[in-house]
């Protein structure tokens, strides 16, 4: 079954979230996330859901966390500056094992570190999907709600201005990713008085009659969960890498621009290919290592001062092959990608390393 609609990116993402069963959203306005908040605000009531315009990002994140403990598929979000305020709450969700989807609608590409390293406390990781366009964002949105429930963890969709503001024909029909375990950890007041009640907390101390694992064992268990995600969930997309002498690595909305340049250069006889991590964490290390084993150069294009390049250097066997061809580039407002996100600009940067 398909349901193709011409939608603005933010609206498509909201629609996809509802199709995935999201019934609670809370957020605080901040560009370019605001369109998503407004879309949820329009759409959620019609499916019996709740959208709350919180009074701060911290409040938004905690409302969404609460809604998740009560059993709803729940989400929040902001742009990088706003998600910065939510870091403690994200860590809390990770270490308490509470599912939560976070829509980081970034200003440009300067939030790679925030997503992959995180700014909270403790041993936790945040699975991050970085779609290349609205169609992929729609698919990733639905997948994230599934994965968040599967692993009981907070997870990020890293979108941006381009995705939020571009209109595209997308299929927003619900997707089925398979069965999930029953949500028996959710708060249930009918358990009160049975001596089998739960308390959700990062330290897992539990109740006096049913102690939890307590921090040492609990945080080990949480770390093992993230190890499992690292083994099972890396995703990537590669294009024309089998015989490539030069591999250009990029993520998110830079991807289609890079692929356009790859096609142009291939027409000129240059053996160039591209690699795009789809999960920023877990970074597809093994796939990138294999994809770059036989090439001469690995050129990293990202619109920032160099963030993903750290993970590229960790993955590629011979680090000396890796060069940075990106850079900081923002428009006059400081909120959108600047002139570097352009095929002519990218082509020139790639060509500087050819030969």
């Amino acid at each position: 079954m398909t349901q193709v609609e011409l939608l603005q990116g933010s609206d498509a993402v909201a629609q996809a979230a509802l199709a995935a069963g999201c019934r609670f959203f809370s957020g605080y306005p901040m560009l370019p996330f605001t369109g998503l908040l407004e879309s949820f605000s329009r759409r959620l009531p019609s499916v019996g859901g709740v959208c709350m315009n919180a009074a701060s990002e911290i409040e938004a994140a905690n409302m969404a966390l609460g809604a998740s403990t009560a059993g709803a598929r729940s989400a929040t979000g902001s742009t990088g500056q706003g998600v910065a305020l939510m870091q403690e709450t994200v860590a809390e969700a990770a270490l308490s094992q509470i599912p939560l989807v976070i829509f980081t609608m970034a200003r440009g590409q300067q939030d790679y570190f925030q997503c992959t390293r995180g700014g909270g406390w403790g041993d936790y990781r945040t699975l991050t999907l970085a779609p290349k366009d609205t169609a992929e964002a729609v698919e990733h949105t639905q997948l994230l709600f599934h994965l968040a429930d599967k692993y009981r963890a907070p997870m990020i969709l890293l979108g941006d201005y381009l995705i939020g503001d571009t209109m595209m024909s997308v299929d927003v029909a619900p997707r089925d990713y398979g069965p999930l375990p029953a949500k028996d950890w959710v708060l249930d007041p009918t358990r009160n008085g049975t001596r089998e009640t739960h308390v959700l907390w990062t330290f897992d101390t539990g109740k006096v009659n049913r102690p939890g694992l307590r921090p040492d064992k609990h945080w080990r268990r949480v770390a093992e969960r993230f190890d499992e995600i690292a083994r099972v969930e890396p995703r990537h997309e590669s294009y024309l890498i089998d015989d490539a002498e030069y591999v250009v690595v990029s993520y998110g909305t830079s991807g289609p621009f890079v692929d356009y340049v790859v096609d142009e250069l291939r027409a000129d006889g240059i053996r160039v290919g591209s690699f795009r991590p789809v999960t920023l964490w877990p970074f597809p290390e093994a796939a990138l290592e294999a994809a770059t084993a036989n090439c001469r150069k690995v050129l990293v294009f990202e619109i920032n001062a160099g963030q993903m390049i750290d993970d590229v250097r960790l993955s590629v066997t011979d680090r000396s092959k890796v060069s940075f061809i990106g850079g900081v580039s923002v428009d006059y407002s400081g909120m959108r990608q600047g002139t570097m996100l352009d095929v002519a600009a990218i082509r020139e940067r790639v060509m500087a390393h050819i030969g």
Partner: protein, 257 residues
């Protein structure tokens, strides 16, 4: 080990006070001698049982000595980040509107870290019951000043006593909340004597009833003793509460039923 320490003969009697309250998993706890929190816990459990809402309550709790309630209560709980309990409670109530949602915080958690969250929950009129266990001190971290510490009160960060010139004045959250249209019930009780304890239990019941009628946020502040944080001997706790905190934060119903 229980010892029957009585001078009466064995004759027909009715038990009118049971040491284990309903929904209480244990009577053992590590709180200080003379701490007021366990008294507040007991009347909270009794209020829930007397209203017959045991199977409807969901709790959120902040960080402090009172966080113990989450582990000794046979009630489903979420332990929250410092200050954020009303926001988490909001999410829970919006998703399970038939639950009776209780958010428990101390004065440090609510008036210092969480002032934003409690005021906005009140502004929105969230149909939750918010509790502040107010002993005017960050007891769990050793006894520092909070946003509710009263003028003259000695703490580790106001060792000569809170001085308005240096430390300003406490913020009366109950009075602020009472001004908000979304807040339907505001009361302040205390657990330093039997009369106030009985009055405070009635306030808790009125607060829950306000929630169940869907009238908006209900708020109960309970002044509790912290002799350790106050640098007084345990037996002096109730008088200290009466002579300092109650003078600046009088008990009574400020708004509603």
């Amino acid at each position: 080990m229980a010892t029957t320490s009585t001078v009466g003969p064995d004759i027909p009697a009715t038990k009118i006070g049971s040491s284990l309250a309903p929904l209480q998993l244990t009577m053992d706890h590590p709180l200080c001698p003379g701490c007021g929190h366990p008294v507040a816990f007991r009347i909270l459990f009794e209020a829930i049982a007397e209203l017959g809402i045991e199977k409807r309550v969901l709790g959120t709790v902040g960080h402090g000595c009172y966080t113990l309630i989450a582990s000794i209560a046979d009630i489903e709980f979420v332990q929250c980040l410092h200050g954020r309990s009303p926001a988490v409670a909001t999410g829970i109530k919006r998703v399970q509107p038939d639950a009776v949602v209780l958010s428990c915080q101390g004065d440090g958690d609510m008036v210092s870290e969480g002032l934003h969250e409690i005021l906005h929950a009140g502004g929105r009129g969230e149909k939750i019951t918010c509790l502040m266990l107010n002993n005017g001190v960050f007891g769990d971290t050793g006894g520092q000043m909070t946003g509710a510490t009263v003028v003259g009160q000695r703490t580790k960060t106001s060792i000569e006593g809170r001085d308005p010139d240096l430390h300003g004045y406490p913020i009366p959250v109950a009075s602020l909340l009472a001004q908000l249209p979304g807040v339907a019930y505001v009361a302040r009780g205390a657990v330093n004597n039997a009369g106030s304890i009985a009055q405070t239990k009635k306030m808790l019941k009125a607060a829950f009833e306000t929630q169940m009628r869907g009238e908006g946020m209900s708020f109960v502040e309970i002044l509790t003793m912290c002799p350790t944080g106050w640098f007084v001997p345990a037996p002096s706790g109730p008088n200290y509460l009466n002579e300092t905190m109650e003078q600046q934060f009088p008990i009574g119903v400020l708004k509603g039923a």
